[in-house]
Protein backbone atom coordinates (compact mmCIF):
# COMPACT_ATOMS: atom_id res chain seq x y z
CA UNK A 1 0.00 0.00 0.00
CA UNK A 2 1.09 3.51 -0.70
CA UNK A 3 -0.32 5.67 2.06
CA UNK A 4 -0.28 9.46 2.12
CA UNK A 5 -0.94 11.71 5.09
CA UNK A 6 -1.46 15.45 4.54
CA UNK A 7 -0.59 17.64 7.46
CA UNK A 8 -0.46 21.30 8.43
CA UNK A 9 1.79 22.94 10.96
CA UNK A 10 -0.28 25.03 13.35
CA UNK A 11 0.09 27.06 16.52
CA UNK A 12 0.18 25.10 19.73
CA UNK A 13 -3.40 24.96 20.98
CA UNK A 14 -2.23 26.66 24.17
CA UNK A 15 -0.43 29.48 22.36
CA UNK A 16 -1.41 33.01 23.26
CA UNK A 17 -2.59 34.74 20.10
CA UNK A 18 -1.29 38.27 19.49
CA UNK A 19 -1.63 40.71 16.60
CA UNK A 20 1.74 42.01 15.41
CA UNK A 21 2.65 45.52 14.33
CA UNK A 22 1.78 44.64 10.70
CA UNK A 23 -1.83 43.88 11.65
CA UNK A 24 -1.27 40.15 11.11
CA UNK A 25 -1.34 37.34 13.66
CA UNK A 26 2.15 37.16 15.12
CA UNK A 27 3.98 33.83 15.35
CA UNK A 28 6.77 35.28 17.47
CA UNK A 29 7.66 32.96 20.34
CA UNK A 30 4.80 30.65 19.43
CA UNK A 31 5.36 26.93 19.71
CA UNK A 32 4.40 25.23 16.45
CA UNK A 33 2.94 21.74 16.35
CA UNK A 34 1.41 19.27 13.94
CA UNK A 35 -2.30 20.10 13.70
CA UNK A 36 -3.87 17.69 16.23
CA UNK A 37 -6.43 16.31 13.72
CA UNK A 38 -3.59 15.66 11.31
CA UNK A 39 -1.84 13.68 14.02
CA UNK A 40 -4.81 11.29 13.95
CA UNK A 41 -4.32 11.12 10.17
CA UNK A 42 -0.62 10.31 10.49
CA UNK A 43 -1.28 7.78 13.24
CA UNK A 44 -3.92 6.03 11.10
CA UNK A 45 -1.55 6.05 8.13
CA UNK A 46 1.18 4.40 10.21
CA UNK A 47 -1.24 1.84 11.66
CA UNK A 48 -2.46 1.00 8.16
CA UNK A 49 1.11 0.41 7.09
CA UNK A 50 1.86 -1.67 10.19
CA UNK A 51 -1.12 -3.85 9.35
CA UNK A 52 -0.95 -4.09 5.57
CA UNK A 53 2.63 -3.09 4.79
CA UNK A 54 3.72 -0.42 2.35
CA UNK A 55 4.96 3.10 2.68
CA UNK A 56 3.75 6.23 4.48
CA UNK A 57 4.48 9.57 2.80
CA UNK A 58 3.72 12.74 4.77
CA UNK A 59 3.13 15.90 2.76
CA UNK A 60 2.57 19.53 3.63
CA UNK A 61 2.49 23.00 2.15
CA UNK A 62 4.34 25.53 4.26
CA UNK A 63 7.47 27.53 5.02
CA UNK A 64 10.91 26.44 6.27
CA UNK A 65 9.64 25.81 9.79
CA UNK A 66 7.18 23.22 8.49
CA UNK A 67 10.12 20.83 8.11
CA UNK A 68 10.01 20.34 11.86
CA UNK A 69 6.41 19.20 11.73
CA UNK A 70 7.35 16.73 9.00
CA UNK A 71 10.30 15.43 11.03
CA UNK A 72 7.95 14.88 13.93
CA UNK A 73 5.79 12.68 11.70
CA UNK A 74 8.87 10.83 10.48
CA UNK A 75 9.81 10.28 14.14
CA UNK A 76 6.33 8.84 14.72
CA UNK A 77 7.06 6.31 11.99
CA UNK A 78 6.32 7.77 8.54
CA UNK A 79 8.86 6.75 5.87
CA UNK A 80 9.45 9.94 3.96
CA UNK A 81 8.19 13.49 3.71
CA UNK A 82 7.59 16.19 1.13
CA UNK A 83 7.36 19.90 1.80
CA UNK A 84 6.08 22.20 -0.92
CA UNK A 85 7.66 25.53 -0.06
CA UNK A 86 7.31 28.48 -2.42
CA UNK A 87 7.13 32.25 -1.91
CA UNK A 88 3.94 32.25 -4.01
CA UNK A 89 2.34 30.07 -1.33
CA UNK A 90 3.16 32.42 1.57
CA UNK A 91 -0.46 33.53 1.88
CA UNK A 92 -2.01 30.38 0.46
CA UNK A 93 -5.73 29.90 1.06
CA UNK A 94 -7.49 26.53 1.22
CA UNK A 95 -7.92 26.43 -2.52
CA UNK A 96 -4.24 27.10 -3.20
CA UNK A 97 -3.26 24.30 -0.81
CA UNK A 98 -5.76 21.91 -2.43
CA UNK A 99 -4.50 22.80 -5.92
CA UNK A 100 -0.90 22.23 -4.85
CA UNK A 101 -1.53 18.94 -3.05
CA UNK A 102 -3.75 17.66 -5.88
CA UNK A 103 -0.99 18.29 -8.39
CA UNK A 104 1.60 16.65 -6.18
CA UNK A 105 -0.55 13.58 -5.50
CA UNK A 106 -1.84 13.13 -9.03
CA UNK A 107 1.55 13.38 -10.69
CA UNK A 108 4.77 13.10 -8.68
CA UNK A 109 3.21 10.90 -6.01
CA UNK A 110 0.63 9.16 -8.17
CA UNK A 111 -0.32 5.59 -7.39
CA UNK A 112 -1.36 5.93 -3.76
CA UNK A 113 -4.07 3.75 -2.25
CA UNK A 114 -5.30 6.04 0.47
CA UNK A 115 -4.86 9.66 1.53
CA UNK A 116 -5.41 10.72 5.12
CA UNK A 117 -5.98 14.28 6.31
CA UNK A 118 -7.28 15.79 9.52
CA UNK A 119 -10.92 16.85 9.26
CA UNK A 120 -9.78 20.46 9.78
CA UNK A 121 -6.87 22.53 11.09
CA UNK A 122 -7.21 24.07 14.52
CA UNK A 123 -5.88 27.47 13.40
CA UNK A 124 -8.38 28.77 10.84
CA UNK A 125 -10.89 25.97 11.37
CA UNK A 126 -11.93 26.25 7.72
CA UNK A 127 -12.18 22.46 7.11
CA UNK A 128 -11.88 23.13 3.36
CA UNK A 129 -8.83 21.22 2.17
CA UNK A 130 -10.11 17.63 2.61
CA UNK A 131 -13.22 18.18 0.47
CA UNK A 132 -11.50 20.37 -2.13
CA UNK A 133 -8.62 17.91 -2.46
CA UNK A 134 -10.94 14.90 -2.77
CA UNK A 135 -12.89 16.75 -5.45
CA UNK A 136 -9.76 17.62 -7.41
CA UNK A 137 -8.43 14.07 -7.12
CA UNK A 138 -11.89 12.70 -7.92
CA UNK A 139 -11.81 10.43 -4.88
CA UNK A 140 -14.46 9.38 -2.40
CA UNK A 141 -13.97 11.13 0.94
CA UNK A 142 -14.88 9.59 4.28
CA UNK A 143 -14.79 12.82 6.23
CA UNK A 144 -14.97 13.29 10.01
CA UNK A 145 -14.14 9.61 10.39
CA UNK A 146 -14.01 8.04 13.84
CA UNK A 147 -13.34 4.45 12.77
CA UNK A 148 -11.81 2.80 9.73
CA UNK A 149 -11.24 -0.75 8.54
CA UNK A 150 -9.46 -1.63 5.35
CA UNK A 151 -9.42 -5.03 3.65
CA UNK A 152 -9.06 -6.26 0.10
CA UNK A 153 -9.03 -2.84 -1.51
CA UNK A 154 -12.24 -1.89 0.26
CA UNK A 155 -12.79 0.25 3.31
CA UNK A 156 -15.53 0.82 5.82
CA UNK A 157 -15.64 3.93 7.93
CA UNK A 158 -17.79 5.36 10.65
CA UNK A 159 -18.25 9.08 10.24
CA UNK A 160 -19.93 11.71 12.33
CA UNK A 161 -22.98 13.31 10.77
CA UNK A 162 -25.48 15.78 12.19
CA UNK A 163 -27.12 14.17 15.17
CA UNK A 164 -25.40 10.81 14.89
CA UNK A 165 -23.04 8.69 12.87
CA UNK A 166 -23.16 6.60 9.74
CA UNK A 167 -21.21 3.64 8.46
CA UNK A 168 -20.10 3.83 4.85
CA UNK A 169 -18.32 1.46 2.56
CA UNK A 170 -16.10 2.59 -0.30
CA UNK A 171 -13.43 1.32 -2.65
CA UNK A 172 -9.81 2.44 -2.63
CA UNK A 173 -8.19 4.69 -3.63
CA UNK A 174 -9.98 7.08 -1.34
CA UNK A 175 -9.51 9.87 1.16
CA UNK A 176 -10.22 9.84 4.87
CA UNK A 177 -10.64 12.98 7.03
CA UNK A 178 -9.68 12.08 10.60
CA UNK A 179 -11.77 13.09 13.59
CA UNK A 180 -10.84 12.73 17.24
CA UNK A 181 -11.58 9.18 18.31
CA UNK A 182 -10.22 7.55 15.18
CA UNK A 183 -7.22 6.36 17.18
CA UNK A 184 -4.90 7.10 20.07
CA UNK A 185 -1.89 9.02 18.75
CA UNK A 186 1.50 7.59 19.71
CA UNK A 187 4.44 9.62 20.97
CA UNK A 188 7.54 9.44 18.83
CA UNK A 189 10.01 7.22 20.67
CA UNK A 190 13.63 8.30 21.13
CA UNK A 191 14.86 5.71 18.60
CA UNK A 192 12.14 7.06 16.28
CA UNK A 193 13.49 10.60 16.70
CA UNK A 194 17.01 9.40 15.92
CA UNK A 195 15.86 7.50 12.82
CA UNK A 196 13.85 10.49 11.57
CA UNK A 197 17.06 12.43 11.00
CA UNK A 198 18.08 10.03 8.27
CA UNK A 199 14.73 9.68 6.51
CA UNK A 200 14.24 11.56 3.23
CA UNK A 201 12.55 14.95 3.38
CA UNK A 202 12.19 16.53 -0.06
CA UNK A 203 11.51 20.21 -0.51
CA UNK A 204 9.74 21.11 -3.76
CA UNK A 205 8.86 24.44 -5.32
CA UNK A 206 5.74 25.13 -7.37
CA UNK A 207 7.89 24.96 -10.49
CA UNK A 208 8.96 21.43 -9.49
CA UNK A 209 5.29 20.50 -9.62
CA UNK A 210 4.72 22.28 -12.91
CA UNK A 211 2.61 24.98 -11.28
CA UNK A 212 2.91 28.74 -11.55
CA UNK A 213 2.02 31.55 -9.18
CA UNK A 214 -1.23 32.10 -11.14
CA UNK A 215 -2.41 28.57 -10.37
CA UNK A 216 -2.31 29.29 -6.66
CA UNK A 217 -3.49 32.91 -6.70
CA UNK A 218 -5.55 33.44 -3.57
CA UNK A 219 -9.31 33.77 -3.80
CA UNK A 220 -9.64 34.51 -0.10
CA UNK A 221 -7.87 37.54 1.23
CA UNK A 222 -7.56 38.47 4.86
CA UNK A 223 -8.56 42.10 5.24
CA UNK A 224 -7.75 42.54 8.90
CA UNK A 225 -7.25 40.57 12.08
CA UNK A 226 -8.45 41.47 15.53
CA UNK A 227 -8.66 39.74 18.87
CA UNK A 228 -12.06 38.93 20.34
CA UNK A 229 -13.22 41.74 22.66
CA UNK A 230 -12.27 41.30 26.30
CA UNK A 231 -15.00 39.59 28.25
CA UNK A 232 -17.29 42.03 30.08
CA UNK A 233 -18.02 41.54 33.76
CA UNK A 234 -21.31 39.79 34.45
CA UNK A 235 -24.37 41.58 35.81
CA UNK A 236 -26.01 40.66 39.07
CA UNK A 237 -29.73 41.33 39.35
CA UNK A 238 -31.04 42.02 42.84
CA UNK A 239 -34.45 42.80 44.29
CA UNK A 240 -37.85 41.09 44.51
CA UNK A 241 -38.29 37.90 42.55
CA UNK A 242 -40.91 39.34 40.20
CA UNK A 243 -38.79 42.37 39.37
CA UNK A 244 -35.66 40.30 38.85
CA UNK A 245 -37.41 37.84 36.56
CA UNK A 246 -38.93 40.64 34.48
CA UNK A 247 -35.57 42.35 34.23
CA UNK A 248 -33.84 39.08 33.27
CA UNK A 249 -36.35 38.38 30.51
CA UNK A 250 -35.94 41.89 29.20
CA UNK A 251 -32.13 41.57 29.18
CA UNK A 252 -32.25 38.20 27.47
CA UNK A 253 -34.46 39.76 24.80
CA UNK A 254 -32.85 43.13 24.28
CA UNK A 255 -29.23 42.71 25.31
CA UNK A 256 -28.29 39.05 24.84
CA UNK A 257 -30.88 38.67 22.07
CA UNK A 258 -31.31 34.99 22.81
CA UNK A 259 -35.10 34.93 23.19
Amino acid sequence: MKIVACIKQTFDTEAKIAIGGDGQISDEGVNLIVNPYDEFAVEEAIRTKEKDGGEVVVVTVGGDKAQEALRYCLAMGADRAILVNDPALAKADSRAVAVTLAKLLSEKEAGFDIVFTGKEAVDDGAAQVPAQLAERLDLPLANVATALTISDGKATATREIDGGSEDIEFALPAMVGAQKGLNEVRYPSLPGIMKAKRKPLDVLSLADLGLGADDVAVKVEMVSAELPPARQAGQRLTGEVDEVVAKLVQLLKDEAKVI
Partner: protein, 379 residues
Amino acid sequence: MEFKYTEEERMMLQMVRSFAEKEIKSLAKETDKEHKFPAETVRKLAELGLMGVSVPVEYEGAGMSNICYSIAIEEISRHCAATGVIMSVNNSLACEPVKLFGTEEQKKKYLADMASGRKLGCLGLTEPNAGSDAANLSTTAVLDGDEWVINGRKIFITNGNEADYCVLIAQTDKSKGHHGICAFIVDLDNPGFSVGTLEDKLGIRGSSTAELVFEECRIPKENLLGEMGKGFRVALTTLDGGRIGIASQALGIARAAIEDAAAYAKERVQFGKPIAKLQAIQWMIADLTTHYEAARLLTHRAAYQKDQGESYAKEAAMAKLMAAETAMKAATQGIQILGGYGYTTDYPLERYFRDAKITEIYEGTSEVMRLVIANHVLR
Protein backbone atom coordinates in the same frame (compact mmCIF):
# COMPACT_ATOMS: atom_id res chain seq x y z
CA MET B 1 29.16 29.35 21.32
CA GLU B 2 25.63 28.41 20.49
CA PHE B 3 22.73 28.49 22.96
CA LYS B 4 20.36 26.61 20.74
CA TYR B 5 18.79 23.17 20.78
CA THR B 6 19.41 20.86 17.87
CA GLU B 7 16.37 19.66 15.96
CA GLU B 8 16.55 16.32 17.73
CA GLU B 9 16.70 18.01 21.14
CA ARG B 10 13.69 20.18 20.32
CA MET B 11 11.73 17.21 19.08
CA MET B 12 12.49 15.17 22.15
CA LEU B 13 11.62 18.12 24.40
CA GLN B 14 8.27 18.46 22.68
CA MET B 15 7.59 14.75 22.95
CA VAL B 16 8.60 14.35 26.60
CA ARG B 17 6.80 17.53 27.68
CA SER B 18 3.62 16.43 26.03
CA PHE B 19 3.99 12.90 27.45
CA ALA B 20 4.57 14.25 30.97
CA GLU B 21 1.59 16.59 30.80
CA LYS B 22 -0.78 13.97 29.46
CA GLU B 23 0.42 10.79 31.11
CA ILE B 24 2.19 11.75 34.34
CA LYS B 25 0.73 14.99 35.70
CA SER B 26 -2.61 13.49 36.69
CA LEU B 27 -0.96 10.55 38.53
CA ALA B 28 1.63 12.51 40.52
CA LYS B 29 -0.55 13.32 43.52
CA GLU B 30 -1.67 9.74 44.05
CA THR B 31 1.81 8.37 43.38
CA ASP B 32 3.05 10.59 46.20
CA LYS B 33 0.20 10.10 48.63
CA GLU B 34 -0.07 6.34 48.29
CA HIS B 35 3.68 5.69 48.16
CA LYS B 36 2.87 3.98 44.90
CA PHE B 37 5.55 2.88 42.46
CA PRO B 38 4.33 4.11 39.03
CA ALA B 39 4.88 0.79 37.27
CA GLU B 40 2.64 1.58 34.32
CA THR B 41 4.41 4.90 33.71
CA VAL B 42 7.80 3.18 33.88
CA ARG B 43 6.60 0.72 31.25
CA LYS B 44 5.59 3.63 29.00
CA LEU B 45 8.92 5.38 29.60
CA ALA B 46 10.65 2.19 28.49
CA GLU B 47 8.57 2.00 25.31
CA LEU B 48 9.63 5.52 24.43
CA GLY B 49 13.30 4.73 24.98
CA LEU B 50 13.60 6.86 28.11
CA MET B 51 15.10 4.16 30.35
CA GLY B 52 18.34 4.11 28.36
CA VAL B 53 18.57 7.56 26.80
CA SER B 54 22.32 7.72 26.22
CA VAL B 55 22.98 4.01 25.91
CA PRO B 56 24.14 3.08 22.37
CA VAL B 57 21.52 1.65 20.03
CA GLU B 58 23.42 -1.66 19.81
CA TYR B 59 22.62 -2.23 23.49
CA GLU B 60 18.98 -1.26 22.98
CA GLY B 61 19.35 2.30 24.22
CA ALA B 62 18.24 5.41 22.35
CA GLY B 63 21.79 6.52 21.56
CA MET B 64 21.08 10.14 22.40
CA SER B 65 23.18 12.81 24.06
CA ASN B 66 23.43 13.64 27.73
CA ILE B 67 21.80 16.99 26.94
CA CYS B 68 18.78 15.04 25.69
CA TYR B 69 18.93 12.98 28.87
CA SER B 70 18.93 16.11 31.01
CA ILE B 71 15.99 17.58 29.09
CA ALA B 72 14.02 14.36 29.53
CA ILE B 73 14.61 14.10 33.28
CA GLU B 74 13.67 17.76 33.76
CA GLU B 75 10.41 17.41 31.82
CA ILE B 76 9.39 14.24 33.66
CA SER B 77 10.33 15.73 37.05
CA ARG B 78 8.38 18.89 36.25
CA HIS B 79 5.28 16.83 36.93
CA CYS B 80 6.55 13.97 39.08
CA ALA B 81 9.97 14.04 40.72
CA ALA B 82 9.54 10.46 41.97
CA THR B 83 9.18 9.21 38.40
CA GLY B 84 12.17 11.40 37.53
CA VAL B 85 14.43 9.69 40.03
CA ILE B 86 13.32 6.17 39.08
CA MET B 87 14.31 7.01 35.53
CA SER B 88 17.51 8.78 36.57
CA VAL B 89 18.72 5.87 38.71
CA ASN B 90 18.13 3.34 35.93
CA ASN B 91 19.87 5.54 33.34
CA SER B 92 22.73 7.04 35.33
CA LEU B 93 23.42 4.68 38.19
CA ALA B 94 22.65 1.30 36.65
CA CYS B 95 23.06 1.54 32.85
CA GLU B 96 25.97 3.98 32.86
CA PRO B 97 28.51 1.96 34.91
CA VAL B 98 27.80 -1.15 32.82
CA LYS B 99 28.14 0.93 29.65
CA LEU B 100 31.46 2.40 30.84
CA PHE B 101 33.05 -0.56 32.62
CA GLY B 102 31.18 -3.65 31.43
CA THR B 103 32.50 -6.42 29.21
CA GLU B 104 30.82 -7.06 25.87
CA GLU B 105 28.91 -9.99 27.40
CA GLN B 106 27.77 -7.89 30.35
CA LYS B 107 26.60 -5.13 28.05
CA LYS B 108 24.70 -7.51 25.78
CA LYS B 109 22.83 -9.02 28.68
CA TYR B 110 22.53 -6.55 31.54
CA LEU B 111 22.86 -3.22 29.76
CA ALA B 112 20.43 -4.18 27.00
CA ASP B 113 17.93 -5.48 29.57
CA MET B 114 18.03 -2.25 31.56
CA ALA B 115 18.25 0.22 28.67
CA SER B 116 15.24 -1.37 26.98
CA GLY B 117 13.35 -1.25 30.26
CA ARG B 118 12.78 -5.01 30.37
CA LYS B 119 14.59 -4.92 33.69
CA LEU B 120 15.02 -2.19 36.26
CA GLY B 121 18.38 -1.34 37.79
CA CYS B 122 19.71 0.16 40.99
CA LEU B 123 23.08 1.02 42.54
CA GLY B 124 24.05 -0.59 45.84
CA LEU B 125 26.58 1.74 47.38
CA THR B 126 25.39 3.41 50.61
CA GLU B 127 25.63 1.54 53.90
CA PRO B 128 24.75 2.51 57.46
CA ASN B 129 28.37 3.56 58.08
CA ALA B 130 29.31 4.52 54.53
CA GLY B 131 27.36 7.53 53.29
CA SER B 132 29.38 10.55 52.24
CA ASP B 133 32.42 8.50 53.32
CA ALA B 134 31.68 6.04 50.55
CA ALA B 135 34.91 4.09 50.92
CA ASN B 136 34.11 2.89 54.42
CA LEU B 137 32.21 -0.18 53.20
CA SER B 138 31.56 -3.33 55.17
CA THR B 139 29.70 -5.40 52.56
CA THR B 140 32.13 -8.10 51.49
CA ALA B 141 32.64 -10.20 48.39
CA VAL B 142 34.79 -13.29 48.72
CA LEU B 143 35.85 -15.43 45.78
CA ASP B 144 34.96 -19.09 46.25
CA GLY B 145 35.86 -21.14 43.18
CA ASP B 146 33.88 -19.71 40.26
CA GLU B 147 31.63 -17.58 42.41
CA TRP B 148 31.71 -14.46 44.49
CA VAL B 149 30.00 -14.80 47.84
CA ILE B 150 28.45 -11.57 49.01
CA ASN B 151 27.46 -10.65 52.54
CA GLY B 152 26.25 -7.33 53.88
CA ARG B 153 23.56 -4.69 53.90
CA LYS B 154 22.99 -1.68 51.68
CA ILE B 155 20.58 1.05 52.70
CA PHE B 156 18.68 3.92 51.07
CA ILE B 157 18.76 2.19 47.68
CA THR B 158 16.47 3.93 45.18
CA ASN B 159 14.48 1.41 43.10
CA GLY B 160 15.68 -1.25 45.57
CA ASN B 161 12.26 -2.79 46.02
CA GLU B 162 11.51 -3.20 42.30
CA ALA B 163 14.96 -3.59 40.78
CA ASP B 164 15.95 -6.73 38.92
CA TYR B 165 19.65 -5.94 38.77
CA CYS B 166 21.98 -4.17 41.13
CA VAL B 167 25.35 -2.62 40.45
CA LEU B 168 26.89 -3.47 43.79
CA ILE B 169 29.97 -1.93 45.37
CA ALA B 170 31.66 -4.20 47.92
CA GLN B 171 34.90 -4.80 49.76
CA THR B 172 37.12 -7.66 48.62
CA ASP B 173 40.14 -6.79 50.72
CA LYS B 174 39.64 -4.46 53.66
CA SER B 175 43.42 -4.09 54.19
CA LYS B 176 43.78 -2.31 50.84
CA GLY B 177 41.33 0.51 51.65
CA HIS B 178 40.01 2.15 48.45
CA HIS B 179 41.96 -0.33 46.40
CA GLY B 180 40.21 -3.28 47.98
CA ILE B 181 36.82 -2.24 46.60
CA CYS B 182 35.19 -3.91 43.58
CA ALA B 183 32.00 -3.42 41.59
CA PHE B 184 29.68 -6.29 40.65
CA ILE B 185 26.50 -6.88 38.74
CA VAL B 186 24.02 -8.83 40.83
CA ASP B 187 20.90 -10.45 39.51
CA LEU B 188 18.43 -9.87 42.34
CA ASP B 189 16.53 -13.10 41.62
CA ASN B 190 19.38 -14.67 43.54
CA PRO B 191 18.21 -16.69 46.59
CA GLY B 192 20.85 -15.02 48.78
CA PHE B 193 19.21 -11.66 48.26
CA SER B 194 16.27 -10.11 50.04
CA VAL B 195 14.74 -6.67 50.44
CA GLY B 196 14.92 -5.42 54.02
CA THR B 197 13.37 -2.26 55.43
CA LEU B 198 11.50 0.07 53.10
CA GLU B 199 11.87 3.71 54.09
CA ASP B 200 8.84 5.93 54.68
CA LYS B 201 10.05 9.21 53.26
CA LEU B 202 9.35 12.94 53.32
CA GLY B 203 9.30 13.20 49.53
CA ILE B 204 9.77 11.33 46.23
CA ARG B 205 7.36 8.89 47.81
CA GLY B 206 6.51 7.15 44.54
CA SER B 207 10.03 5.77 44.31
CA SER B 208 11.09 3.01 46.66
CA THR B 209 14.05 3.43 48.99
CA ALA B 210 15.03 0.03 50.26
CA GLU B 211 17.49 -1.89 52.30
CA LEU B 212 19.21 -4.62 50.28
CA VAL B 213 20.24 -7.68 52.27
CA PHE B 214 22.89 -10.08 50.94
CA GLU B 215 23.36 -13.33 52.86
CA GLU B 216 25.73 -15.83 51.29
CA CYS B 217 24.58 -14.43 47.96
CA ARG B 218 26.54 -16.25 45.26
CA ILE B 219 27.09 -14.66 41.86
CA PRO B 220 29.20 -15.86 38.91
CA LYS B 221 32.85 -14.86 38.93
CA GLU B 222 32.41 -13.05 35.60
CA ASN B 223 29.94 -10.63 37.17
CA LEU B 224 32.80 -8.52 38.45
CA LEU B 225 32.25 -5.11 36.85
CA GLY B 226 35.46 -3.41 35.80
CA GLU B 227 38.87 -4.35 37.09
CA MET B 228 39.73 -5.88 40.46
CA GLY B 229 40.24 -3.17 43.03
CA LYS B 230 38.78 -0.42 40.83
CA GLY B 231 35.28 -0.48 42.32
CA PHE B 232 35.67 2.82 44.09
CA ARG B 233 36.44 4.50 40.80
CA VAL B 234 33.37 2.85 39.24
CA ALA B 235 31.28 4.28 42.09
CA LEU B 236 32.70 7.80 41.87
CA THR B 237 32.48 7.97 38.07
CA THR B 238 28.91 6.71 38.25
CA LEU B 239 27.99 9.35 40.81
CA ASP B 240 29.53 12.12 38.68
CA GLY B 241 27.16 11.21 35.86
CA GLY B 242 24.26 10.69 38.24
CA ARG B 243 24.61 14.27 39.38
CA ILE B 244 23.60 15.49 35.92
CA GLY B 245 20.42 13.45 36.34
CA ILE B 246 19.69 14.78 39.83
CA ALA B 247 20.50 18.34 38.80
CA SER B 248 17.96 17.90 36.00
CA GLN B 249 15.42 16.47 38.41
CA ALA B 250 15.95 19.50 40.68
CA LEU B 251 15.49 21.79 37.66
CA GLY B 252 12.15 20.14 36.99
CA ILE B 253 11.02 20.69 40.58
CA ALA B 254 12.26 24.31 40.55
CA ARG B 255 10.44 25.04 37.31
CA ALA B 256 7.26 23.44 38.61
CA ALA B 257 7.34 25.65 41.69
CA ILE B 258 8.09 28.82 39.72
CA GLU B 259 5.46 28.16 37.03
CA ASP B 260 2.75 27.26 39.52
CA ALA B 261 3.54 30.19 41.81
CA ALA B 262 3.60 32.64 38.88
CA ALA B 263 0.27 31.35 37.56
CA TYR B 264 -1.26 31.69 41.02
CA ALA B 265 0.15 35.21 41.51
CA LYS B 266 -1.50 36.35 38.30
CA GLU B 267 -4.90 35.08 39.46
CA ARG B 268 -4.85 35.85 43.17
CA VAL B 269 -6.32 39.29 43.86
CA GLN B 270 -5.49 41.10 47.07
CA PHE B 271 -5.74 44.84 47.77
CA GLY B 272 -7.72 45.15 44.54
CA LYS B 273 -5.11 43.74 42.16
CA PRO B 274 -3.38 40.47 41.32
CA ILE B 275 -0.49 39.89 43.73
CA ALA B 276 1.76 39.50 40.67
CA LYS B 277 1.59 43.32 40.48
CA LEU B 278 3.28 43.58 43.87
CA GLN B 279 7.01 44.11 43.82
CA ALA B 280 7.51 41.70 46.74
CA ILE B 281 6.18 38.88 44.56
CA GLN B 282 7.87 40.10 41.38
CA TRP B 283 11.29 40.05 42.99
CA MET B 284 10.83 36.53 44.25
CA ILE B 285 9.80 35.32 40.79
CA ALA B 286 12.63 37.26 39.12
CA ASP B 287 15.30 35.87 41.47
CA LEU B 288 14.01 32.32 41.25
CA THR B 289 13.85 32.43 37.46
CA THR B 290 17.41 33.75 37.32
CA HIS B 291 18.67 30.99 39.61
CA TYR B 292 16.78 28.39 37.63
CA GLU B 293 18.22 29.56 34.31
CA ALA B 294 21.74 29.68 35.77
CA ALA B 295 21.39 26.17 37.17
CA ARG B 296 20.07 24.98 33.84
CA LEU B 297 23.05 26.39 31.96
CA LEU B 298 25.43 24.72 34.42
CA THR B 299 23.60 21.42 34.02
CA HIS B 300 23.60 21.56 30.23
CA ARG B 301 27.25 22.48 30.25
CA ALA B 302 28.13 19.50 32.42
CA ALA B 303 26.08 17.30 30.07
CA TYR B 304 27.74 18.86 27.04
CA GLN B 305 31.22 18.22 28.45
CA LYS B 306 30.28 14.64 29.18
CA ASP B 307 29.05 14.27 25.58
CA GLN B 308 32.35 15.66 24.33
CA GLY B 309 34.31 13.16 26.39
CA GLU B 310 35.79 15.94 28.52
CA SER B 311 36.05 15.84 32.29
CA TYR B 312 32.90 17.13 33.89
CA ALA B 313 33.06 16.17 37.56
CA LYS B 314 33.39 19.76 38.79
CA GLU B 315 30.69 21.00 36.42
CA ALA B 316 28.30 18.22 37.44
CA ALA B 317 28.90 19.03 41.11
CA MET B 318 28.26 22.73 40.51
CA ALA B 319 25.14 21.94 38.51
CA LYS B 320 23.73 19.68 41.20
CA LEU B 321 24.59 22.09 44.00
CA MET B 322 23.01 25.04 42.24
CA ALA B 323 19.98 23.18 40.93
CA ALA B 324 19.23 21.50 44.27
CA GLU B 325 19.47 24.73 46.22
CA THR B 326 17.35 26.47 43.60
CA ALA B 327 14.70 23.76 43.79
CA MET B 328 14.56 24.11 47.58
CA LYS B 329 14.38 27.88 47.39
CA ALA B 330 11.77 27.86 44.62
CA ALA B 331 9.56 25.43 46.52
CA THR B 332 9.94 27.40 49.77
CA GLN B 333 9.10 30.73 48.15
CA GLY B 334 6.48 29.14 45.92
CA ILE B 335 4.59 28.08 49.04
CA GLN B 336 5.10 31.58 50.43
CA ILE B 337 3.49 33.08 47.32
CA LEU B 338 0.49 30.79 47.65
CA GLY B 339 0.31 31.50 51.39
CA GLY B 340 -2.04 29.22 53.29
CA TYR B 341 -3.14 27.48 50.09
CA GLY B 342 0.45 26.53 49.38
CA TYR B 343 0.64 24.76 52.72
CA THR B 344 -2.29 22.48 51.89
CA THR B 345 -2.33 19.40 49.69
CA ASP B 346 -4.89 21.09 47.43
CA TYR B 347 -1.93 22.54 45.56
CA PRO B 348 1.19 20.61 44.55
CA LEU B 349 3.62 23.17 46.04
CA GLU B 350 3.97 21.27 49.31
CA ARG B 351 4.89 18.17 47.30
CA TYR B 352 7.53 20.11 45.38
CA PHE B 353 8.87 21.29 48.74
CA ARG B 354 9.13 17.76 50.11
CA ASP B 355 10.57 16.42 46.84
CA ALA B 356 13.12 19.24 46.53
CA LYS B 357 14.81 18.46 49.83
CA ILE B 358 16.24 15.12 48.75
CA THR B 359 18.08 16.71 45.83
CA GLU B 360 20.31 18.43 48.40
CA ILE B 361 21.11 15.04 49.92
CA TYR B 362 21.31 12.07 47.57
CA GLU B 363 24.05 11.25 45.07
CA GLY B 364 26.26 13.54 47.14
CA THR B 365 25.04 16.11 49.67
CA SER B 366 25.43 19.81 48.94
CA GLU B 367 28.34 19.75 51.39
CA VAL B 368 30.04 16.98 49.41
CA MET B 369 29.36 18.97 46.21
CA ARG B 370 31.22 21.94 47.72
CA LEU B 371 34.02 19.61 48.73
CA VAL B 372 34.30 18.25 45.17
CA ILE B 373 34.27 21.75 43.68
CA ALA B 374 36.83 23.06 46.17
CA ASN B 375 39.10 20.08 45.52
CA HIS B 376 39.06 20.90 41.83
CA VAL B 377 39.73 24.59 42.36
CA LEU B 378 42.32 24.31 45.12
CA ARG B 379 44.32 21.30 44.02
